[in-house]
Amino acid sequence: MADISSNGTTKVLVGGHYQVAKSIVSKYPNSRSAVLPLLFLVQGIEGHVTDQGMRDVAGILGLTPAEVLASGSFYTMLKKKPTGEYLISVCRNVSCAHRGAHKVINALSERLDIDPGAVTADGRFELETAECLATCDGAPSMQINYEDFYNLTPESAVDLVDRIERGETVAGERGETVRTQREVSYETAVAGARLPGTAGDIEARTVGGESPPEDMKAGDRPKLRDDEGTHGG
């Protein structure tokens, strides 16, 4: 296990953030398993995964920065470049395309004055086209910072942008408030870490964020429940 008793040379994960990182690491029997949550923590602090953030994660976990880069670069939700505060991802796959996704994309592109893949000059919005979001029943659909919006029209999509820009609270299809990239990244990082003082709603929003049993060690496999592990009896 990497030595996490002192924060020595970290520059991004310092102070309170370092303490959070420590609690995240302590939830894993094998410390290097914490590489993804820690990268989300960096993204929650910095807005994207910075080089210094990756060095910090490597230092905390006893990995080389190259190993952290290898993990981090694989996942598209970890951003290697500065990203917009609100990431709008519009599906362009078959169902959505049939029901006018391209009109939604064009309208947003015009409203924000950027092409898909770019960030607005003020850094508030980023527009991207997405592959299937698994919400074909709500086509055309999109996500703003990973909260779903269904049955869009060019007008309703632009209206969402307008409301966010005015500072209004916007809720997605499931009633969850749209939060900023940093907030979402931070929540993703600490999900399951059961930090003292964690807001209750973070815990409620966490899916599958269970901590491993206290006595779990590196290499242990989760025990199967009685009804698991067999198929067709």
Binding site: D51, M54, L63, T64, P65, A66, E67, V68, L69, A70, S73, F74
Partner: protein, 852 residues
């Protein structure tokens, strides 16, 4: 039918018996059935990512990768069935979608697994017409390695080597899907001591060698097998030349020594051989104090004249001489000149090698264990120098023993070593307290992990350590059980020199001399005091290497006639009266004896520059002038003499040294239970001598070389295992038989002022050979002094400050590094940029102060 030891399977209609758990790809290859592959390498765990080795197995619905499929009884395998051939063609067509067809300008062209397998197994044409993936060309990811990402076929070999074998995961697969690429972390270089291995195992030209880039085509090269001339691990290598210049060295495999790997010092440190600074003719100091070229006859006659008539002579040999040189030097000194004042310990002056025998750890002044005993050991005790710096490939073997074979590693050291990261127990001894720490091991937490078989590794590490006390303590530790010792002297020739009796108290064959002579320190002291007439130095740069530069300097100025046999006009050589030019390792037939006393052969590839000669021939000529004609004209003559005179070497068959052995056994198997004694199969095939002085061509050109030659870039896949020298039998010498002086550096108690001084070798330094090697010489680091944080606080020093380090009236300004080192101890590296540690190491202690 089969028993537990063997399964029977059929490959392409031929039945073969194989050990259970072996991989199909290896078993097929030994049968002569080559399964194409990119990612599989016998030195690493299989990953089955390249999908090139798909074969058809009866009863399996899909094709299976031969590299990760263990053989099973009754298995019926077909590698040439239509489905398998389709898959092979398809895979190559896929790989060539993005691989550029720039073979004419690629270093790998002509010895490229992708090129060869495309000819042999490819579809012949491609249906792909779209643009290929491109990247920024020629990324220099370190001082030695260049990366062309568009050539990469994503086999992971470099990534796996760096992670699994070297433990330096600096090169990784980054991004994903079609964007996946090999990359280092932004501006952090591929700074591994083993990075060159990734060039050699790259199956395409994605990783290339910066010093060798665009230097030669493989078919232009002449090659000869040899042995690395740097450290005492003795990795077998190829020397490869173009236009009579040494342009490349690569690892040859020997499963007993280096598996498939060498360090970057061995791989890139060859340029000294062709340096313009080499001595090419004998030189004599003339009347006006300037050197002038003279003939061999003249020079040797002048030296012989000085040696005649009861001259008082001291002989010091450096650590890079061959075993033959060693025998000739010992014979010249003892039998012809008649002096026992002969020693081969220079940088390691005073190292108590003979005590290893006297303490009962080993029957010889050398190892009783082999390197591979590490892998089967339950306990390994390390009491040597930092192996990653001083004996790099041994570091890989130690790492493998712990991580792959579950050996328990106990490291006793006053400062952090590279082994600490994976050691089972790290005992941080007090400054000067190593011997006590060894004695207390059995009552420490490490005691639970001490068991048989045990290998005790000892090598002289530092002037500040009381090595005689350490060896005695290790003897007590080992006496309680059936421990073997792996003795680690520093240089390629060190053990051969000991075996041949170039030592004041040992004769050849590890016989204790009745009347020991002077050791290096005493010889130099005698010379300094004007009590020597002639000082004969064979490759010994005493001013640079002896731990007391001041004494060495005084010795050269003490009035003795100084004769130096050298490659270069070193500082010592230029203060000599006669300089005799020596041939370098790539220019000579000879042997090195490594730290496990394995004798391995060097084949000549180049002509020595000018009239430079092998040191043993110089000894022959001097002996003849002094009236003793040994009648040696060749390497064989020397060995006939060794065999009939050295009791430990009577059985050494020098013909067998150049004979090819089996193909190296794969290092990893499928995870089935395996017999640890398994040493891999012997390939049936054409036998005979190793091809000398020429390359054997690429696999499919000659039709008879095994395709594993790719791993060796054109060399046949057979090993030359070498021969471990015999051990003397009979009563071991009593402690009173030895009077080796231990040097002046033993720490003298707690009350003394200052810090106990530890000095050690870093892999890249300003040593004589490496500083002439263009690829490596600029890598030498700034000198520094390592210090405990508490001690630093008391001295008001912090990281990066400049400290004045003083000893014996000399001082040096060194950068402070706070380190995990015992209180009261400091560490300095040898020979870093512009700093010679041996100006300080004459004293056991130094003082430190802030630079005001």
């Amino acid at each position: 039918m089969s028993d537990n030891d063997s399964v029977t399977l059929t490959i392409n209609g031929r039945e073969v018996a194989a050990e259970p758990g072996r991989l199909l790809i290896d078993v097929a290859e030994e049968l002569g059935v080559f399964v194409p592959r990119f990612c599989y390498h016998p030195g690493m765990k299989p990953v089955a990512v390249c999908r090139m080795c798909l074969v058809q197995i009866e009863g399996q619905r899909k094709l299976q990768p031969a590299c990760s499929t263990p053989v099973a009884d009754g298995m019926v395998v077909n590698t040439q069935e239509a489905g398998a051939v389709d898959a092979q063609e398809g895979m190559l067509e896929f790989l060539l979608i993005n691989h550029p067809l720039d073979c004419p300008i690629c270093d790998r062209g002509g010895e490229c697994p992708l090129q060869d397998q495309t000819y042999k197994h490819g579809p012949g044409s491609s249906r792909y017409v779209e643009p290929k993936r491109t990247y920024e060309k020629a990324l220099e990811i370190s001082d030695l390695v260049v990366l062309d990402r568009e050539r990469c076929v994503l086999c992971w070999r470099c990534v796996r080597f760096s992670d699994e074998i070297a433990g330096d995961a600096f090169i990784q697969l980054v991004d994903r899907g079609p964007g996946t690429q090999i990359l280092t972390f932004n501006d952090e270089p591929f700074d591994s001591y083993f990075s060159g291995n990734t060039i050699q195992i790259c199956p395409v030209g994605a990783l290339t060698s910066k010093p060798y880039r665009f230097v030669a085509r493989p078919w232009d090269l002449k090659s000869a097998p040899s042995v690395c001339s740097y450290c005492s691990v003795g990795c077998p290598i190829t020397n490869e030349s173009r236009d009579e210049k040494l342009v490349r060295c690569q690892a040859l495999p020997n499963e007993n020594v280096n598996d498939f790997w060498i360090c970057d010092k061995g791989r890139f440190g060859y340029h000294y051989v062709d340096s313009d600074e080499r001595l090419t003719a004998p030189l004599e100091r003339g009347a006006n104090d300037e050197f002038q070229d003279v003939s061999w006859d003249h020079a040797l006659e002048r030296v012989a004249a000085k040696l005649r008539d009861g001259a008082r002579v001291g002989v010091i040999a450096g650590g890079h001489l061959t075993t033959e040189d060693a025998w000739a030097i010992g014979k010249l000194a003892k039998n012809v000149i008649g002096t026992r004042d002969v020693d081969s310990r220079v940088a390691d002056a005073g190292a108590p090698y003979a005590d290893v025998m006297i303490s009962g750890l080993s029957p010889a002044a050398g190892s009783s264990a082999t390197i591979n005993d590490l892998a089967t050991a339950r306990t390994i005790v390390w009491m040597g120098p930092d192996p990653k710096e001083a004996l790099p490939v041994l570091y890989l073997k130690l790492r493998g023993a712990v991580l792959d074979h579950n050996a328990k590693l106990i490291v006793v050291s006053p400062r952090r070593l590279s082994l600490d990261g994976f050691a089972t127990h790290v005992v941080r001894s007090e400054a000067g307290g190593e011997a006590r720490a060894v004695d207390e091991l059995m009552s420490s937490p490490a005691a639970d992990d001490i068991g048989d078989p045990m290998v005790i590794c000892w090598g002289p590490s530092s002037p500040g350590r009381d090595d005689a006390g350490v060896v005695a303590a290790l003897g007590r530790l080992g006496a309680a059980r059936d421990a073997k010792v792996l003795m680690c002297p520093p240089h390629s020739g060190s053990q051969g020199l000991l075996d041949m009796g170039v030592h004041p108290s040992l004769d050849a064959g590890h016989e204790t001399a009745a009347e020991p002579g002077r050791d290096t320190r005493a010889i130099l002291q005698a010379a300094a005091d004007g009590r020597l007439d002639v000082l004969l130095l064979f490759g010994a740069d005493v001013i640079a290497d002896f731990p007391d530069a001041d004494l060495a300097g005084r010795a050269l100025g003490g009035g003795a006639h100084v004769v130096t046999v050298e490659l270069f006009p070193t500082e010592t050589a230029t203060r000599s009266d006669v300089l005799l030019p020596s041939a370098a390792f790539a220019e000579r037939e000879g042997t090195f004896t490594n730290l496990e006393r394995r004798i391995q052969k060097l084949e000549p590839l180049l002509e020595a520059p000018g009239v430079a000669r092998e040191p043993w021939r110089i000894c022959v000529a001097l002996a003849r002038l002094l009236g003793d004609d040994w009648g040696w004209h060749s390497f064989v003559d020397v060995w006939n003499d060794i065999r009939s005179n050295v009791r430990t070497h009577t059985e050494v068959d020098i013909d067998a040294l150049s004979a090819r052995g089996p193909t190296p056994a794969p290092q990893y198997e499928s995870g089935y239970e395996k017999d640890p004694s398994h040493s891999g199969g012997v390939v049936a095939g054409p036998g005979g001598q190793y091809p000398k002085g020429y390359r054997s061509g690429t696999p499919f050109q000659t039709g008879q070389n095994w395709p594993l030659s790719w791993e060796l870039r054109g060399f046949e896949a057979r090993q030359r295992p070498g021969i471990v020298a015999g051990t003397p039998n009979g009563a071991r010498p009593s402690p009173s038989g030895s009077t080796t002086s231990t040097g002046s550096a033993a720490p003298d108690g707690e009350s003394a002022d200052g810090f106990v001084l530890y000095a050690g070798r870093m892999i890249y330094d300003e040593g004589t050979m490496i500083s002439k090697s263009t690829a490596l010489r600029h890598i030498a680091r700034r000198p520094f002094v390592e210090l405990n944080e508490e001690d630093a606080k008391e001295l008001e020093l912090s990281e990066g400050d400049e400290a004045v380090v003083r000893a014996n009236g000399t001082e040096a300004r060194l950068e402070v590094r706070l380190a995990d080192i015992a209180r009261g101890a400091v560490f300095i590296p040898y020979d870093q940029k512009g700093f010679r540690a041996n100006t300080l190491t004459s004293a056991p202690r130094v003082t430190l102060a802030r630079d005001l």
